[in-house]
Symmetry: C2
């Protein structure tokens, strides 16, 4: 019996190259989960095969900027001239349906979410060592050395923000990391601040 029936907002973040996407996919491949992935809003034009509402919600720039003004995003950022944002209403709706909503986002975005969703669970994914991250960035093989060094320098700054998160999970092995995140989700549902209201109601019945 789960005292807390509302879903949790799970923010998985960490420096670029740490393997957020891989861990998130491993998490979704696990059995008996109740996870949904938050679909972002973007002003970038859809690529072929991309489906509205599955890959992104596609809007024009004017709409996006109006939505920023109306505080409709949990976080948003501009990237190569396009906006990307997490729509607050869709997230709240999924949480109300009891879904665990997973946000896999950059450190900057995660800290924006922290301001707006005090109740969310913040997980900082880290590499087993700085060297491992550097090797991983190099192993991608798609970027030149200058860009890799730039990413690594950014990561070194982001490492210092770990203290802002609720949990630090080492991505030494993708399945280990996903398992631990699943344990965190189960545990968080039992945390007293989430369960005490329902528990008091239960006692009154």
């Amino acid at each position: 019996m789960k005292l807390n029936e509302r879903g949790l907002l799970i923010v998985i973040s960490g420096p670029s190259g740490v393997g957020k996407g891989t861990v998130r996919r491993a998490l979704f491949e696990m059995k008996n989960h109740n996870l949904v992935y938050s679909v972002s809003v973007t002003t970038r034009p859809p690529r072929k095969d991309e489906v509205e509402g599955r890959d992104y919600y596609f809007v024009d720039k004017k709409t996006f900027e109006q939505d920023i003004l109306e505080d409709k995003f949990l976080e948003h950022a501009e990237f190569v001239g396009n906006y990307y944002g997490t729509p607050k209403d869709k997230v709240e709706e999924a949480l109300d349906r009891g879904k665990e909503v997973v946000l896999e986002i950059e450190v900057e975005g995660a800290l924006q979410v922290r301001e707006k969703m005090k109740d969310a669970v913040f997980i900082f994914l880290v590499p087993p060592s700085k060297k491992a991250l550097y090797d991983r960035l190099n192993a991608r093989g798609t970027e030149n050395k200058e860009l890799i060094d730039k990413r690594f320098q950014k990561a070194e700054k982001e490492f210092l923000l770990a203290y802002k998160y609720d949990y630090i999970v080492v991505n030494d092995d993708v399945n280990n990391a996903a398992d631990r995140i699943m344990a965190i989700i189960r545990a968080e549902h039992a945390r007293t601040q989430r369960t005490i209201h329902k528990y008091i109601k239960m006692l009154e019945e």
Copy 2:
């Protein structure tokens, strides 16, 4: 990879009749755990088959009272003229060896531990309803109605102390409850306040 290598002190508590012992046994029967049970000190004479250091540490009353004065217990209580206590040094020693030390104790004792071990994990085990607890107390069949009613009245007061715990776990099903407690243990090892020091050291290497 586990950033926090020290064991956790896990305090499982809750009103009398909620099934603390059953859940604790189910927990210890799970695979791949690293749990140890804290052995209490008592002034009660050993029963036959009871082994020193396995069932209890048996001491005389004078020794126990001296130990109270020297703050050697995480908690202690008197019951039917005998003392019972949790020895701090043995618990610390097991935690240092990376063991998860499980204390299965009454609410009053748990609150004493809370004062002394800020870092411990406090789990409040609750019945699915007040009626379920009352039925369970009756089902024991070993006590008279007066004693059962007294226990139930005590439980009703203890229910109000749930807010002092980190987690509330419903014992609707023993294995569910044990599973959830195991998830809590895994999750707590990743909590930022336990991992950040090791994480910073790791980054410096």
